[in-house]
C-alpha cells in the first residue's frame, strides 16, 4: 500500500481562473479565498454560475478540458502535484446523480472500491468498510444489490464510499437535488456529522440554502464565475437576496423580511433566518388587514366544478405484487379541464403511483381510472387519441425523455417549432441535452412533453434541484397551461411551489386522499405540512401562505399601516 501523507491544513485558492475548451470567456474568473481545516462551507449561486466547475477544479481528477490558471493548495501542497491515488485519498467528491456514481453491484463492494484502488491490505480494507458502514448506518444493507436501494440510500452510500478513505476535504455538488426532502435531510445530517465529529472540511454546493444556513461556518456566493460574497452566512443573506435567480433560495424568514421591507430600510440590517426570528420580526409589525379570498389571500379558487373531468380516479386500488401491501387503497380524485392540483404526502404514501396510474403505466386491480373518459392503460383503448386528450408525463429523471442529442435536435425530434422554444433554452440550443443543469433540463423536458399538446399534464417532483429562477419560470409555465385548458397534476414535496401554482391541494396518506382544499384553506389549517411563510405568519394572520400574501398582509411601522 502506498503511504499517503495527510498534511494538516486548509484549502487556499489564489487567482483561480478557468476557460473551458471552445469557450470565449472564462467560467471561473480570478477566484481567491482561504478555507480553514474543519470548516463547513456553503457554496451558493444560480445555475450556471460556475459552482460545479469550481468544485471540479478543486479536485483535478477527473480532469476538466480547458485552460486553468492560478493555484489551489491543500494543506500546503498544490493539488495538481498530487497523484491520482493521493487525490482519491485526500479529497472526496459526491455529485448530483445517485445512479451514475455507484460503480459496483453490492454495497460492500462499493465501499471497498476506494480502498481497493489505493491497495489497502485485506485487513485494513475490511476494517475501513466495517467502521464506515456502521458509522453511516449502512450495516443493514450489506447483502443488498446497489440497484435495489432508494435514491436517498444510494446517495448516502456514495457519501460513505467517498468518506471510506478518510479524506480531509469533501466536495459535494448539489448532492440532494435528486432526493425528496426527507432523504435530503438524512443525507445532510450525515454530512454535518462528518464535519462535526470527524473534522472533515466540507464544501457543499446547494440550492436549499435555508436548511444549511445554521450549519455552515462560511458562505461563498458565486455569480457568473466571480465571488460576490465570502463570509459569515447570516451577513450574506443580503447578497443572496440581491441576485434575482438566487433570492428564492434564501430562508423563508429572510425573504419575508425583504418582501415586507420592499428594499426600504437599509440593506445593512440583519435578516431573520429561522421561524422564531421571522416571528420576532413580524411581531414589530401589524397586519394590514385580514387576509380574505378577495384581497388576494392564497386562494385562486376559481370554481371549476362545472368543467368536464380530465382525470377521474374512483376507488383505485393498486399493489406492486400479489403478496405486497396495497399502495393505493381506494384512492379517488377528479381533476377538471383547466384545473391544477398538487398531490402532497410523505414518502411511500403512493403519490408517484397515482401519477403512473393516471399515465396508464400502471394498471389498478380494482376501481376505475379514466382520462378524458377512457382507460389510459396500454391494455385498453382502441380509438386514436387526438392531441387534446393525450397525456404528458414529466418524470423526475427528465433524462428519460432525451436521446442525448443537442437541445436543438431534441426539440426538433419532439416537433417543437423554432419560435416556441422557451427563452431560457435559446442560448443553450447547441449543448448536449445531458449536459444541461437540473433546471434547464427540466424546462427542456417540459417543452418536449408539451410539444404533443397533452390535455393532461403529470409532473413528478418538478422542482427537485431547481434554482430559484428556474422554479419561478416553471411556476409561470404551468399557470399558463392551466389557463389554456390543460389539467395539471403535480406530485411534489415542495409546499411553497404547490401553494403558488395549484388550485387545489390533495394530501395523500395510507394510499388514500386524506384531505384536500384550496391552497389558502389547506395550508392554513395544516401545521406540519405547510409553507414556511405560513409557519412564520401563523400567530399573526390567517390565510397567509405565500410570500405575496405576506407582502400584502404586513407593512413596516413607518409605512402606510399603523404601527403597533
Amino acid at each position: 500500500m502506498e503511504r499517503i501523507e495527510r498534511p494538516y491544513g486548509g484549502l487556499s485558492v489564489r487567482g483561480l481562473s478557468y476557460t473551458p475548451r471552445g469557450s470565449s470567456g472564462p467560467v471561473i474568473d480570478g477566484l481567491s479565498f482561504d478555507i480553514d481545516p474543519g470548516e463547513f462551507v456553503l457554496l451558493a449561486g444560480p445555475s450556471g454560475s460556475g459552482k460545479t466547475t469550481l468544485l471540479r477544479l478543486l479536485k483535478p481528477e477527473p480532469p476538466v478540458p480547458g485552460k486553468r490558471s492560478g493555484s489551489v493548495m491543500l494543506g500546503g501542497r498544490d493539488v495538481l502535484s498530487l497523484s491520482a491515488a493521493e487525490q482519491a485519498a485526500l479529497i472526496g467528491l459526491v455529485s448530483r446523480d445517485p445512479e451514475s456514481q455507484i460503480v459496483t453491484d453490492t454495497v460492500p463492494a462499493e465501499l471497498a472500491f476506494g480502498p481497493e484502488n489505493l491497495g489497502y491490505s485485506k485487513e485494513l480494507a475490511a476494517l475501513r468498510v466495517a467502521e464506515t458502514a456502521s458509522w453511516f448506518g449502512l450495516d443493514g444493507l450489506l447483502d443488498r444489490k446497489t440497484s435495489t436501494l432508494s435514491g436517498g440510500k444510494k446517495q448516502l452510500l456514495s457519501l460513505a464510499a467517498a468518506a471510506v478513505t478518510r479524506p480531509s476535504l469533501l466536495l459535494l455538488d448539489e448532492p440532494t437535488s435528486g432526493l425528496d426532502p426527507v432523504s435530503a435531510d438524512g443525507f445532510l445530517s450525515a454530512v454535518r456529522r462528518l464535519n462535526r465529529e470527524l473534522g472533515i472540511t466540507v464544501v457543499i454546493a446547494e440550492h436549499r440554502l435555508g436548511s444549511l444556513m445554521g450549519d455552515a461556518s462560511r458562505l461563498l456566493v458565486l455569480d457568473r464565475g466571480r465571488l460576490i460574497y465570502d463570509g459569515c452566512p447570516e451577513d450574506g443573506i443580503g447578497t443572496v437576496l440581491s441576485v434575482p435567480a438566487l433570492a428564492p433560495e434564501a430562508p423563508a424568514a429572510s425573504r419575508l423580511a425583504a418582501a415586507v421591507r420592499k428594499g426600504r430600510s437599509g440593506s445593512t440590517e440583519k435578516y431573520p433566518v429561522t421561524v422564531a426570528e421571522g416571528r420576532a420580526f413580524l411581531s414589530g409589525l401589524r397586519p394590514a388587514g385580514p387576509v380574505t379570498e378577495d384581497n388576494g389571500g392564497a386562494a385562486k379558487s376559481v370554481s371549476r366544478d362545472s368543467g368536464a373531468p380530465a382525470l377521474e380516479m374512483k376507488d383505485v386500488r393498486f399493489r406492486y405484487g400479489r403478496d405486497l401491501p396495497d399502495v393505493l387503497n381506494g384512492f379517488s380524485l377528479t381533476l377538471r379541464i383547466g384545473e391544477s392540483a398538487a398531490l402532497l404526502g410523505g414518502n411511500g404514501s403512493g403519490k408517484t403511483t397515482v401519477l403512473l396510474t393516471a399515465a396508464g403505466i400502471l394498471e389498478p386491480y380494482s376501481g376505475s381510472c379514466r382520462v378524458f373518459g377512457r382507460d389510459p392503460s396500454a391494455a385498453a383503448g382502441r380509438r386514436k387519441r387526438d392531441g387534446a386528450d393525450r397525456i404528458g408525463i414529466l418524470p423526475q429523471n427528465v433524462r428519460l425523455l432525451f436521446s442525448g442529442f443537442s437541445v436543438r435536435e431534441e426539440l426538433a425530434a419532439a416537433g417543437v417549432a423554432g419560435d416556441d422554444c422557451p427563452d431560457r433554452l435559446r442560448p443553450l440550443l447547441d449543448l448536449c441535452s445531458y449536459d444541461l443543469s437540473a433546471g434547464e433540463s427540466r424546462l427542456l423536458g417540459l417543452a418536449v412533453v408539451l410539444a404533443r399538446g397533452p390535455g393532461l399534464l403529470l409532473l413528478d417532483e418538478p422542482t427537485c434541484g431547481l434554482d430559484g429562477g428556474a422554479r419561478a419560470e416553471l411556476r409561470e409555465r404551468t399557470a399558463a397551461l392551466a389557463g389554456a385548458g390543460v389539467a395539471v397534476l403535480t406530485v411534489t414535496h415542495d409546499c411553497e411551489f404547490a401553494a403558488e401554482s395549484a388550485d387545489r391541494i390533495v394530501m395523500m396518506f395510507d394510499g388514500r386522499a386524506a384531505g384536500s382544499g384550496t391552497p389558502g384553506g389547506f395550508f392554513s389549517s395544516a401545521d406540519f405540512y405547510t409553507t414556511d411563510i405560513r409557519r412564520i405568519t401563523a400567530p399573526f394572520a390567517d390565510g397567509c401562505v405565500t410570500l405575496a400574501d405576506a407582502a400584502r398582509a404586513f407593512v413596516l411601522p413607518d409605512g402606510k399601516g399603523v404601527s403597533r
Binding site: T104, F113, E116, G119, Y120, S147, R390, F402, G404
Partner: protein
C-alpha cells in the same frame, strides 16, 4: 458446521470443476447414476428450487433415451424394427446413459448457479485480475440498469402517444428504435459519469488490490484437498481403463477389479458430499430445536426489551 454453499468460493468452484470434469468424461453408468442421485438429493434437501426443474430434466433424459435408438442403429441386440430399421438394446442403454449424464450435469449446474453469486465469482476472478473483476462488477450492475431505462423510456413514450392498437407495425418499430436509441444515449451518459466517479476514487492506480468478504480457513483447505484426491482417483483409474465401458456392439464392462470399486467409491463420496453437508446441517438444527434453542430471536428481543 457450515452449509455446503457457505464455504469459501474457491471450494465451491473446485468442487464444481471436479464433479463436472469427472461426470462428463467418465461414461460409466454407475458414475452417472451416482452423480444424478447426488444432484437430486442436494437439490431437494437444500431446497434449491421448484420440483419442476428436476421434472423437466427427467423429461429431457427420457426423450434422449427414446430418440437415440431411432437415430443410431448400432448394437447387436435387436428389439424391434421401425421402418425397416433395427432398434437395439445397446442404443437404448447408450441413450439412457447420455440422458442421465445430461440431466445430472444440468441439475448440478443449476444448483451451483444458485450458490455462486456474482460476488463469489468476482472474488475468484479478482485473484487472477483485479481489473477484470472490477469491469465485471460494473457490467453486472449495468445490464439490469439498461433494461430499466428501456422500460421507463418506452412506457413514457407509450403513454404520450396515440393508441397503440392504431399504430402501424412500421410506426411501432420506429418507436422501439427511438426508445432503444434513447436508452443507449442515457446508458452511455451514465457510464461516462460512472467512469468519472471511478477516477475520482483512484481507479487506475497501479497498486489496486481486490477486497472481498470471504475468509479462507483450514477447513476450506481440507475440503479442497479431499475433493482433489477423490477426483484424482477417478481421473487416474479412468485413464488406466478401470472405468471403461463399451456400449457397442455389446454392452460390456472393461474394469471390474478393486481399482474400479475404489474409484466408484471415491466418486460416490464426491457426488454425495453436498447432500451429506446439508443433512448434517439439518440434523444439527433438529438437535438444537430439541434442546429448546429454536427461537433465539425471541431471547434477543427479551434482552433488548
Amino acid at each position: 458446521m457450515v452449509r455446503f454453499g457457505d464455504r469459501h468460493p474457491a471450494v465451491t468452484a473446485l468442487y464444481y470443476a471436479a464433479l463436472a470434469g469427472t461426470g462428463m468424461f467418465i461414461q460409466h453408468p454407475a458414475v452417472q447414476l451416482t452423480s444424478l442421485c447426488g444432484a437430486l438429493l442436494f437439490f431437494f434437501i437444500s431446497r434449491s428450487g421448484r420440483p419442476s426443474v428436476p421434472v423437466s430434466l427427467g423429461v429431457l433424459a427420457l426423450a434422449m433415451t427414446l430418440v437415440n435408438p431411432l437415430i443410431s442403429h448400432r448394437g447387436s441386440t435387436v428389439l424391434l424394427y421401425v421402418n425397416d430399421n433395427p432398434v437395439t438394446l445397446e442404443a437404448l442403454i447408450w441413450g439412457a446413459n447420455s440422458g442421465v449424464m445430461a440431466a445430472s450435469v444440468l441439475l448440478w449446474t443449476y444448483c451451483f448457479s444458485r450458490i455462486m453469486t456474482v460476488e463469489k465469482t468476482l472474488c475468484l476472478t479478482g485473484r487472477i485480475s483485479p481489473r477484470i473483476a472490477a469491469v465485471g462488477a460494473s457490467a453486472v450492475r449495468f445490464i439490469p440498469l439498461f433494461g430499466r431505462y428501456y422500460e421507463d423510456i418506452s412506457s413514457i413514450k407509450r403513454s404520450g402517444r396515440a393508441r397503440d392498437s392504431d399504430a402501424s407495425p412500421a410506426g411501432r418499430l420506429k418507436e422501439s428504435a427511438e426508445s432503444f436509441s434513447a436508452t443507449v444515449g442515457l446508458a452511455l451518459e451514465t457510464s461516462v459519469d460512472a467512469a468519472d466517479s471511478m477516477d475520482a476514487r483512484g481507479w487506475g492506480s497501479p497498486s489496486r488490490r481486490r477486497f472481498d468478504r470471504f475468509v479462507f480457513g483450514w477447513r476450506d483447505a481440507a475440503v479442497m484437498a479431499a475433493v482433489a484426491v477423490c477426483a484424482g482417483i477417478c481421473a487416474a483409474s479412468a485413464a488406466c481403463g478401470a472405468l471403461d465401458i463399451a456400449f457397442y456392439p455389446v454392452f460390456s464392462e472393461g474394469g471390474g477389479g478393486p481399482v474400479t470399486y475404489i474409484s466408484l467409491a471415491a466418486f460416490a463420496a464426491l457426488s454425495l458430499y453436498p447432500a451429506a453437508c446439508e443433512c448434517a446441517w439439518l440434523a444439527m438444527w433438529r438437535a438444537r430445536e430439541r434442546r429448546g434453542h429454536a427461537d433465539f430471536g425471541e431471547v434477543f428481543r427479551r434482552w433488548n426489551a
